[in-house]
Symmetry: C2
Subunit: 188 residues, 2 copies
């Protein structure tokens, strides 16, 4: 069993205007289980770019509380639009288990279609196709690497305290949105 | 008695390099008591400037969850160095009770001396001199307006769940620091 106060790093991106190609804010919240925020990381990535994996690895490995992080939770497999994360590389370069969490099963055909209009779309599609399979875990859909399914379920259960999404991701979302737009509220 | 889930807006500023006169990030966390973050506001102010009161009033009055806020908690009476907040005006223009919280009793002689080197120092000193008196409340020192002392104590007690500072301020501090520097941790 994982501890109730297991340290989880929840990651989400801020909003951005499509096509503007500006830098997108990425926020990482260090949580003790689902109960409270204990630290914050931030970086930025290129909208629809290819630097998400590299920037996340750098953000995580250089931080002082790196040894405490027991699990990385991502709001889906891409940040800043189609800046797709290489889950294998993120796990290999941090040696921390990775879990992606989404509310609904992704429609891969739609995604493939959208990628045909994006620069480096083939490369991004290759990352998506070789990523761990998406499976239903409790009320959400997850991909994971570096931990067994049983532990994924425990991490999701322990950290989901308000609403359907794990608290580390829910709060990373509220923070990134509030910093970029000036105002955000839970659920928005 | 105030409710355990009373909505409190906790405000703190991000770090800045002295003398650089850049804009300083200000973060407002909407908390339910001391238990969890439910929304986020942000704005920016001039380092050592005079716009803190105006920017806070604007940030608070325009936000959608304005009617839910039962109390504004500030990490001291100034943001961004010597951008002193006019507590009377903040209360009058928002009609929300205001509490400032600091860990130690301020040395007014030292502050007066420091202000002599700051632009508009006399104006800032006038704001400090006419602000509500600082009083010990539990383990911290507070000034307040718009509520009785008994309620101040209740708000401080209800919201202080980790460490000595009320959670809304502690978390606003972690977020503002993490966004500006890329990394922050509780207590740092």
């Amino acid at each position: 069993m994982i501890k109730k106060e297991a340290r989880i790093l929840g990651i989400d991106d801020g909003p951005f205007v499509k096509g503007k190609k500006q830098r997108v804010l990425v926020v990482g919240t260090l949580f003790r289980g689902g109960s409270f925020l204990d630290g914050l990381l931030s970086t930025n990535i290129a909208q629809d770019g290819n630097d998400a994996t590299r920037k996340l690895v750098k953000m995580i490995n250089r931080c002082k509380f790196r040894p405490q992080i027991q699990c990385i939770m991502l709001d889906g497999i891409a940040l800043g639009g189609f800046n797709v994360i290489d889950i294998h590389q993120l796990y290999e370069k941090t040696r921390i288990p990775v879990i992606t969490v989404i509310r609904t099963m992704p429609n891969m055909q739609d995604i493939r279609g959208a990628l045909s209009h994006v620069k480096d779309g083939d490369k991004k599609w290759a990352l998506l196709s070789t990523a761990p399979v998406v499976r239903k875990i409790g009320h959400v859909y997850c991909q994971w690497m570096g931990i067994p399914e049983k532990k994924v379920l425990e991490f999701i259960r322990t950290s989901t305290t308000h609403g359907n999404m794990p608290e580390p991701i829910r709060i990373a979302h509220i923070i990134a949105r509030g910093i970029v737009t000036g105002e955000s509220k839970g659920g928005a």
